[in-house]
């Protein structure tokens, strides 16, 4: 097609958006190659699939970050992620110093690069943090041209961006249809039904239901004009701030029948936003569904058989600290969250709670610490979740936690259970300190082995072999420690061993962690700066950051 933007590669897309005079940062000649692909027998790329380019858009200073969808499905790994984070942080610094620069993200991405799983999750949470900080100064415009589209953790990021432009060749979702089929069965979502996929995840439907802001014809000129206009108009869709609207929508949802496309459009247009306040959890006589998260939440807050108006989301204040947990509920009306997954209601409810904590403390000098009790086996895999836009639910809670931290609340994640994928991005990874129990039952990853094997076209045996060589691919907490992201790995306390003595010990570790945030920047840099991170865990990250910083003003 003549003058098509979609047909271009990432570098050409960046050049097409910018005026003539451009400068690429940390490009293919700088030798910043992923160290994690070759050990798994995968051919790397010299720019690791991300192009950073500075220049102007109709005369305005801009940074274009363009993801190459054709290299490894546009997945975010350690190096590509660090490139994006470092460039966004420099753009933030410039904006803070009064040098206005407009960031534009061209998303063509499957989300986390599964071959670097836990690095992808860390990086994506760091990208989200930088976007939230930047939005105080400039709109952060997103563009989803299409081919891969936008999936996974990068769709959570997309929901946080100020304004989202797409073409009709794009799809936007959290979980891809193949993954939903793998996790929840073909009756939940048939990944061979292309019409169903495009009608559900395509941008026509997304535009009608508030998940993208503009769908433009695929020409270079049209797309550049839309981006430029969005910058001029300082567009902001506030997509992750419609929490009461979505909670009202979920109240009205008829779960007795399967939601379809027309039914959802009707519901979406009819819902009236009503104020929702999720009260503190209270004690009861009937125990909730047992889980590691629930056991620790109840012990840390002293609430027996805690229950709440949203049965899967518990929160309470104890000794000046706000505890938040997402827990399973075997009888939940949403079948896809019964094992503790983070679904629509969970994401929006957590966002509502955290936003209220921030609002309540807005005038206080000392902000209340927020403690997330993390036991999330994944995000919810379901058809109606995708139709409504579960990525926005997860984006809302991630954004709420990031804003709380940036407002000065110490945000601490305590991990006695699983910390997986979108669930972990929504509830855990926006914390400035991560504390985990050293228990073999804990899974910490981006995708189940069955799904990861299917998507990366390997056998489970091959996948397991790869986990032996690349710690970020592993599923256990001891390998996770090697990445350097943890504040503390607590030895000698099992996932369910919430005895009085152990609870006191965890409480004192949480208090210590809170103390270490006092007077420190409210960013996520701690993860790069631990001895393990510097020595080995984030070596590539730190090298990339240094290179981007050196070249930023060259």
């Amino acid at each position: 097609m003549k003058n098509s933007f979609v047909e271009l590669h990432a570098r050409e897309r960046a050049e097409a958006l910018l005026d003539d005079d451009v400068r690429e940062l940390v490009g293919p000649l700088d030798n910043m190659i992923s160290p994690h692909l070759e050990p798994q027998g995968i051919v790397p790329e010299s720019d690791d699939g991300v192009v950073l380019m500075r220049g102007t858009i109709n005369g305005k200073s801009a940074l274009v970050i363009s993801i190459e969808g054709k290299f490894q499905g546009g997945g975010i790994g350690e190096v590509s992620g660090a490139k994006i984070v470092a460039a966004l942080e420099k753009a933030l610094e410039d904006n803070q110093a009064g040098k206005t620069i407009y960031p534009v993200l061209v998303l063509d991405t499957g989300g986390v690069r599964l071959q670097e799983a836990n690095y992808g999750l860390l990086s994506i949470s760091e990208i989200q943090n930088a976007v939230i900080a930047l939005k105080k100064f400039v709109p952060v415009i997103g563009l989803v041209p299409g081919r891969v589209g936008s999936f996974g953790g990068m769709s959570i990021t997309a929901s946080i961006l100020s304004y989202l432009i797409a073409t009709k060749k794009a799809r936007i979702a959290l979980n891809g249809p193949e993954v939903i089929e793998q996790e929840a069965g073909v009756r939940e979502f048939d990944s061979s039904d292309k019409d169903l996929i495009w009608n559900t995840l395509g941008t026509k439907q997304r535009l009608a239901t508030g998940l993208v802001d503009e769908v433009v014809e695929d020409t270079v000129d049209n797309i550049k004009k839309s981006v430029s206009d969005a910058i001029d108009a300082k567009k902001d869709a506030h997509r992750t701030e419609n929490i009461d609207f979505y909670l009202s929508l979920l109240d009205k949802l008829d779960l007795s029948k399967k939601l379809d496309i027309d039914g959802y459009r009707k519901l979406y247009s009819e819902v009236k936003s009503e104020k929702h306040v999720i009260d503190d959890a209270v004690g009861s006589n009937t125990p909730g569904t047992k889980s590691r998260g629930r056991v620790w939440f109840e012990k840390l807050t002293g609430i027996k058989n805690a229950k709440s108006s949203v049965s899967t989301v518990l929160h309470a204040e104890k000794d000046g600290k706000e505890y938040v947990a997402i827990v399973p509920d075997a009888d939940n009306k949403f079948p896809r969250v019964r094992d503790g997954e983070v679904g629509l209601e969970e994401g929006f409810a957590v966002a509502s709670i955290v936003n209220k904590v921030v609002a309540d403390d807005a005038d206080k000098d000392i902000k209340r610490p927020i403690i997330m009790v993390v036991d999330v086996p994944s995000q919810a895999y379901g058809y109606q979740e995708e139709l409504i836009g579960i990525h926005v639910a997860l984006g809302s809670s991630a954004a709420a936690y990031a804003k709380a931290r940036q407002a000065g609340h110490p945000v601490i994640a305590f991990i006695p259970g699983d910390a997986v994928s979108g669930g972990f991005l929504a509830h855990g990874l926006q914390s400035n300190r991560l504390i985990a129990l050293d228990d073999t039952s804990i899974t910490i990853q981006a995708m189940s082995k069955a799904s990861a094997a299917r998507i990366t076209q390997r056998t489970i045996a091959e996948l397991e072999e790869a986990t032996k060589h690349v710690p970020a691919m592993a599923y256990d907490i001891d390998n996770y420690e090697k990445l350097g992201a943890l504040y503390k790995l607590v030895k000698g306390i099992g996932s369910y061993d919430a005895t009085d003595e152990n609870v006191a010990k965890i409480n004192s570790i949480i208090d210590e962690a809170i103390q270490t945030t006092v007077g420190k920047p409210a960013d996520l840099h701690f993860r790069y700066e631990t001895p393990i991170a510097i020595e080995s865990g984030r070596k590539a990250t730190n090298a990339v950051r240094k290179a981007v910083f050196e070249q930023w003003n060259a």
């Binding site: 590669h9 990432a10 490009g27 293919p28 000649l29 070759e38 027998g41 995968i42 051919v43 790397p44 790329e45 010299s46 190459e68 054709k70 290299f71 490894q72």
Partner: protein, 99 residues
């Protein structure tokens, strides 16, 4: 994945580094870098194992036509010899580009 190395005696040093291509399915990226050595070293990472002879042939033909002195890196994701030749030729074009 297989790593291959080739070396050619050459005499026309290139003046600047260039990069073309993308590691997409059926495609490759090529980087030429200037060298002060009197030979050209070619390092290839390819996703398709067992094609060393084919690479040798493609490179023989390329260097017979363009005896450039350069360090060459190639990341290949299953491209055909025709595509390899095309990208190498595009890299030559990029060398001539004044930009």
């Amino acid at each position: 994945m297989e790593k291959l190395h080739f070396s050619f005696d050459t005499k026309e040093p290139i003046q600047k580094p260039v990069h073309v291509g993308v590691v997409a399915s059926g495609d490759l990226e090529v980087i030429f870098r200037p060298t002060t050595d009197t030979k050209s070293d070619i390092n290839i990472v390819t996703g398709s194992d067992g094609f060393k002879e084919v690479w040798q042939n493609v490179l023989d033909r390329f260097f017979a036509r363009y005896p450039i002195q350069a360090n060459i890196e190639i990341n290949d994701f299953g491209s055909t010899p025709g595509v390899v030749n095309l990208r190498l030729t595009q890299a030559m074009e990029a060398l001539k580009d004044e930009k």
